[in-house]
Amino acid sequence: MRGQPIDQFATTLPPDKRASVYQSTKATHEKRTKLLFDQFADPNRLRELAGEIKQHALENLDTYLPQVEARLRANGAQVHWASTAEAACEAVLKIMQARGASRMVKAKTMVSEEIELAHFLERHGIEALETDLGEFIVQIDHDHPSHIVRPIIHKNRREIATSFEREGLGAYNDDPATITRRARQYLRHKYLAADVGLTGANFVSAESGRLVVVTNEGNSRFCLAATKCHIALIGIEKIVPRDRDLAILLNLLARSGTAQELTVYTEFITGPKAAAQPDGPEEMHVIFVDNGRTEVLAGDCREILRCIRCGACLNVCPVYRQVSGHAYRSVYPGPVGAVLSPLLLGEKFPQKADLPKASSLCGACNEVCPVNIPIPDLLLRLRHRAKEEHVPSPGSPPMGAWALLASQPAAWRAALAGGKLLNYVPTKLIPVPALQAWAATRSLPEWRGGEFRKWMKQRRTKGRRD
């Protein structure tokens, strides 16, 4: 098979999966737009503001990180730092071992997926159970999530029912309510038996040291109600300056991601539980993870670190809708992943240098992004970098022919007219081998080459007449 890796994945995606990804992303996106524009006086200003807040936080991390560390310590939490994925995994393991702990329940955290924590802990004899329903299913299937907030957007109920049956969670039943009920029953006893609850954080306020964790299912709350030790794995880019900034970001997060006004559970944690509260962690550890982030901060794409992982850019992206999440071969799929995944690889950037090319630069991701990240600009910067670093580009149509045409007006006009032929040729038969992987999953819009010239000509003639 030819083509960029992302296209190879696209061609293997079954049509029913593509259809389900397409439908649900589209529906969420449409609802999001309605919510934001009906309810706020100036939603676009709100997005810009959220972007400015996070950009300010990023460009002052040298002040805010020590500040948040001091606050957390004062609140009774222990603070750790991890430069790499390995260091972060080791830090978690050390905490577990110091407690003699062997069972962990995990709320969804992108960082833990990024550092492949669950696999690492399993190798050390520690059960690290995913508790978000989708992530739990991904885990029992040894699969990978395909969407930031909808990890099993690529699976249907029949596949899930089969997995549940295989795992001994009851006889085959593909009713989504029954599936959910069974997971509820199974997981609640796991929470209660676990030693440690692991979460991420959506935001951390430097002013108060408050961690903000949001979930719809309540799984992260269950981790923090049932276990005695809380470990929070947090990327250093999650800092916001003040508590008041949280109201802006929380209002945008749920609306952008899942078209809700607010996520069901929004938890604000400043330290271990209060002494009078019987439930919850007596011990709290916060691990700040770098794993490539400082390098991104030093580069010309640092805006991507504003990302609050809402998933809106995935939902609106015409490429994501076609190829689904696995094609991005990373925990961060879609437009955000196309920028972040190659960047986080550091020197190994070329491995994912195809991702920034998987975009039509239509700009939709920028328009929906709640922190106003100029994703198309960043993609262009990364394409440029790939070129500078001479990353080979398998399957891209050679530009030589195009350059020749574009520099010869007569040839260009002829090609525009000739292009009309494409309207009558099935895309699969287009005789450009490099295009075939691409064409197998897409259809071309109607050829309208030459229309602009025609229009200009008519306009001029008309202008003279008037």
């Binding site: 309810q39 706020f40 006086a41 100036d42 200003r45 503001l49 400015e52 807040i53 300010h56 990023l58 460009e59 040298d62 990180l65 609140n75 730092w81 430069s83 508790t131 329903l133 909808r150 990890p151 099993i152 249907n156 109920r157 899930i160 989504p176 599936i179 997971a183 509820r184 609640r188 209660l192 408050r210 719809n216 299912e217 309540g218 799984n219 709350r221 269950f222 250093i236 300056p241 508590d243 008041r244 109201a247 802006i248 929380l250 209002n251 607010l262 559970y265 929004t266 938890e267 604000f268 400043t270 209060a274 009078a276 509260q277 019987p278 919850g280 770098d290 400082t294 901060l297 640092r302």
Partner: protein, 203 residues
């Protein structure tokens, strides 16, 4: 680990040093993030009751009606915050078994949990719990029905106000409707890990 701290902070400083200027902290009014049209001129109890319904929760102002709701649903065994029980007990006459201790070994025995809320947010239909006010984190989470007793005077109008009033409690949680998922084929299912019914009793 300490080495990592120094290394990370040094890299952060190194990354930011070349910036000619740093992005300033934007000045703004949090009112921008308030649904003004919705709130203007409204009674907060009324608005909260309306908004909690929109997120598939429920609000009661009458204890007898709440008890009837529990009875009809077949939720007759539950947990209640010991501080609330003396006031509520007279309404829970026959057919109810209510414990004022939550035994985590019998987590499935409690069909409902009644706890005190630290407040509520009208705009979003949110119940606010914290460690100081809410007797048990598990009692408000594990049972199928959660009833939060909300005092009228503690209802905030909007999110920015509720954030400003977070206070110094180690743990504050906003609960907006029942626990839910749409992970399976995008179909909404309530009661995933937490309550399938999120209820406010306004007193």
């Amino acid at each position: 680990m300490n080495d990592d701290r120094e290394a990370i902070l040094a890299r952060v400083r190194g990354a930011l040093a070349p910036l000619r200027e740093r992005a300033p902290m934007p000045q703004y009014d949090t009112d921008l993030a308030v649904m003004r049209k919705l709130i203007a001129g409204r009674d907060l109890v009324e608005l909260f009751s309306e908004r909690i319904k929109r997120v598939n929760g429920l609000a009661f102002t009458d204890v007898a009606a709440l008890v009837e709701y529990l009875r009809t649903g077949g939720w007759t065994r539950g947990y209640c915050d010991p501080a609330l029980w003396p006031r509520l007990a007279p309404h829970f006459a026959q057919g109810f078994t209510v414990e004022t201790e939550f035994d985590r070994a019998r987590v499935d025995d409690y069909a409902f949990g009644i706890t005190r809320a630290a407040g509520a947010i009208a705009e979003s239909g949110t119940i606010v719990l914290n460690d100081a006010t809410t007797s048990r984190r598990l009692g408000a989470l594990a049972p199928w029905v959660h009833v939060a007793v909300v005092e009228r005077a503690t209802i905030f109008s909007d999110l920015p106000q509720a954030v400003a009033e977070l206070g110094d409690d180690r743990n504050v949680i906003w609960c907006t409707g029942p626990s839910k998922t749409a992970d399976v084929e995008g179909i909404l299912i309530e009661g995933v890990h937490g309550p399938g019914a999120q209820i406010a009793l306004i007193v």
